[in-house]
Symmetry: C2
Subunit: 551 residues, 2 copies
């Protein structure tokens, strides 16, 4: 019955994964969820504040803790979460995994899709929780932690469903041997690797966690979700929804456990190093990610830091390009892993439909566009969101001391709704190509570097070097010359970096669409995994084939 | 034209990979290749002896060397091979790879299938070369290095062809946004990872190398083949056939280079550690394999050592079972990675259709069956083949000193055709379950251990432990009880070990059929890769998606 209920959704998602054309199961516009949804979400979020989070179906906690602070209000959320020992988490995951491993993938896919529908019922509380932990704007919080995350989860379910159904479960193998034949009854089993751990980050606590969680689950593995201690609430709501749905359907809620911890006493290493843990999904800084990648006997999926480039060669309409890029660098104050940081512009300027525009003029236009956007009373605050943590704010404040020529000094601005919001507008710094000690760093947050190059070939060379040495998740390029386009594509693709060409209007390099765009290629230092290619699924189980003489 | 020529073969192979039913492109019976083939093969092999191997299309050698000795005649082959510097090999591979990466996969598949057909023309010289380097019998040499290896190569070609065609190359993505829509032209590219190195072994120099070579090539990577210095000739003939076919079709023969070295001066580490090398396929001992697996920035595919178990619980016809197992342990003197080593038999004996047979009686019957087989003038020598190297012979000779009770002492036997052949029959040793220090070792060669257990549950527990700790490629199990069968399957599969149940007659646990049986699961210490699951292909390239605003 459950299988029949979700069959269409799953089959459509499988087709979408294959065709890579536009597809979305969960509408990204809040209005699609009814007029009441927003208000109910706000209320239900507020009711969670200043009390223990008791919606999880996990017991045996050793204490309660919580330390989240809203980047908007500056106030502590006051939500506390149950703390568990690693031993307890692993034991319960292992136990829950035994039965789950034997559930046919068609049933697993239906059960998991049902859990996504239960998460959907909480999109609006999750949106509020995301806003007040990550500093994202309300709209981004809603979309990224709600429909976009659910779409990415469904993408993983569909990919797993497809992959595990690749081979027939049972078949007769018959080898002709002259007058007789040898017959073997063969069966193929996708054996889950073991306990999975998903380590979340503070900026996209749901979006970056759901794909790994659902990839573990669809392939038959139990999963333990270790959120960032500063951004627990959004994923806690998601996990509790999953647990409640699982229990209602008669499955062990410990298939998906939350493992909150505190900055004072992090359990991440203990969890990751436990021998029972075979799968780790990680989103976060490179140094911890590099450590995760060295763990023996684990299959790991990482998304770490990168340095994203913009290559400007030639454009039709410079203003449209500049508008698009000003939005890209301002969106969530440069705290997206897809945000551009390094702009490579040739010293002789840019070819446009209106003739050559000098380097200085391009820079000036860009500065003005960013200023206009962030100071626009209707657009500014909503585009920037708030800065998630003090360290990022500090980095942004000190950006002018990095070196180079400060084109635009970022500043605190006022948010009418949240007067205490931690906000800072982008700083733009002009550098020479010799300043690689500066632009080789990932400067997470609202900091943009413009590097003057000899020509586009030089720009490409530098952007390629950055991607190869430091990783890149995106590259935006602007050119009207087909030969240049091919060169940029080939060179950046050769270091496993995707290129978005000539984006203007309401589409930005920061955005990766589920079912179509791979998020992170897995081929450069920005991460070893990709949402959701087949490797993201295949590495979570092992094909084992058994044979028996058939008579 | 070439694409049309091989289209059927490739499509059939794709279907076979999917259905896992019996399929073979290259007949395994020598007679299928004509009456003359054998004699021509012998002659052409003999003409290669005692001279430099000049069939390769590689230049710039720094010297010539060769050290192969026939395990049959004890004589040096006298073939010398050109030696190249690692720098030279890498430079030529990199250069050849550039154009190859841009060849569409349909064309690559056809070109590579054409090279397999050229290898087929040399099956019989390769068979002789395999026999006189590995010690395999002539029939095994022919089948393993000829049709079976080619089938495995075609399997890899088909898997790559299928995988790279998974997504449309170009598509229009259109996102509805109310009255308007956003349109992006997207393209997906499978970008090859870089230079591949395939490190061969001395026992299956072709069979274990071809899959990695063709997996590298179909996914657009150039490959360098580093054979074992004691078993170069078989793969040298294959590589030269590939090179000649490539050149004839207008492709750079350096796409597939041979990198011979000597025991005195091995270049394996230098090759493997070169930063340009991104892919490594390795077959051989565990300690070097473990080193290969730790190399940073490489994607590695290993087949290392394991300890294969036989679990005997209950049987219908004990004699048929014993015959089958006696052949399994004798075949190529236990030098197959799939050969059983540890026999777990309960102390209370075995249920059979003729009643319970005691432990001692089972052991006695097994001893007699092995003795009868190896001393059978028509069967013995051909089944055993020769022992590839002195170290294996020494290990076999000293097996009695391992401990336990010697049931059958192996001995040198006479080969009528090759009086100097390095031959040794299996030694059978009985152990108690407490002798784990003995049976936890991989005792490569003609050594069989029979371990007396408390009951089948105990047998399963020990076989599982062995697979988990030391790796296993196969497990043979005999039971007439469905519940026991399920338990054995579940327990062994949980440590990623496939089980072959109740094999009797002309099918043995040692055999893995291309297009149907995965060879090595990749899930236990016996190796991290599998011929040929999708991971074996997918990890060799990276999906990169580009986007452009469509107007």
């Amino acid at each position: 019955m459950l299988v029949a209920k979700h069959q269409n959704t799953i089959e459509n998602a499988v087709k979408a994964n294959q065709s890579r054309t536009f597809y979305s199961q969960y509408p990204e516009h809040p209005k699609a969820y009814g007029d009441e949804a927003h208000a109910i979400g706000v209320q239900s979020y507020q009711q969670m504040l200043n009390k223990p989070f008791k919606q999880l179906l996990q017991t045996g906690e050793t204490g309660w803790a919580g330390e989240e602070v809203s980047p908007y209000s500056g106030e502590v959320l006051g939500v506390t979460y149950p703390l568990f020992t690693v031993k307890d988490l692993i034991a319960k995951a292992t136990e829950a995994g035994k039965a789950w491993a034997k559930v046919p993938v068609e049933q697993r896919a239906a059960v998991l899709t049902e859990t996504l529908d239960k998460i959907r019922d909480h999109f609006f509380d999750i949106a509020n929780a995301t806003m007040h932990t990550t500093g994202q704007s309300y709209m981004m919080s809603f979309q990224a932690s709600g429909p976009h995350a659910n779409d990415r989860a469904l993408e993983a379910i569909a990919a797993g469903y497809d992959e595990i159904r690749r081979y027939p479960g049972n078949l007769l193998w018959e080898k002709p041997m002259g007058k007789v034949s040898i017959k073997l009854a063969k069966s193929f089993h996708a054996i889950p690797k073991g306990v999975g751990v998903v380590i979340g980050c503070s900026t996209f606590p749901v979006w970056n966690s759901l794909p790994g969680m659902y990839a573990d689950l669809i392939t038959g593995n139990p999963v333990i979700v270790k959120p960032h201690p500063k951004a627990i609430l959004p994923i806690a709501i998601a996990v509790s929804s999953i647990q409640q749905a699982l229990e209602k359907m008669g499955y062990d809620p410990h298939l998906c456990q939350l493992a909150p911890d505190t900055s004072e006493h992090m359990i991440t290493k203990e969890l990751a190093e436990d021998p029972a843990v075979k799968l780790i999904d990680y989103t976060g800084g490179s140094s911890f990610g590099d450590y995760i990648e060295t763990l023996k006997g684990k299959t790991v999926f990482t998304e770490k830091a990168g340095v994203n480039s913009v290559i400007i060669d030639s454009v039709k309409d410079l203003d449209a390009v500049i508008q698009n890029l000003a939005f890209s660098v301002s969106l969530y104050s440069g705290q997206m892993c897809t945000a551009p940081q390094n702009f490579f512009i040739p010293e002789q300027g840019i070819n446009t439909n209106a003739g050559i525009v000098s380097f200085n003029e391009v820079v000036q236009k860009f500065k003005e566009a960013v200023e206009a956007l962030v100071n626009n009373p209707k657009m500014g605050a909503g585009t920037l969101g708030a800065v998630q943590n003090e360290r990022t704010l500090q980095r942004a404040k000190e950006a002018a001391q990095l070196g180079g020529k400060v084109i635009l000094q970022g500043q605190s601005i006022n948010n009418e709704e949240y007067t205490k919001a931690r906000m800072f507008t982008p700083t733009i710094i002009e550098l020479s190509s010799a300043d690689n000690n500066i632009y080789e760093q990932e400067l997470f947050g609202p900091i943009v570097l413009i590097i003057k190059t000899k020509d586009t070939k030089h720009s490409v060379q530098l952007a390629k070097q950055m991607a190869q040495k430091h990783g890149a998740i995106t590259c935006a390029a602007y050119t009207t010359d087909p030969a240049v386009k091919e060169e940029i594509r080939d060179e950046m693709n050769s270091v496993f970096t995707p290129v978005s060409f000539n984006l203007t209007g309401f589409i930005w390099v920061n955005q990766h669409a589920a079912f179509s765009d791979f998020h992170v290629t897995g081929g450069n230092p920005a991460g070893n995994a990709s949402f959701t290619n087949q490797e993201f699924i295949l590495k979570r189980f092992v094909w084992v084939g058994n044979r028996e003489l058939a008579e």
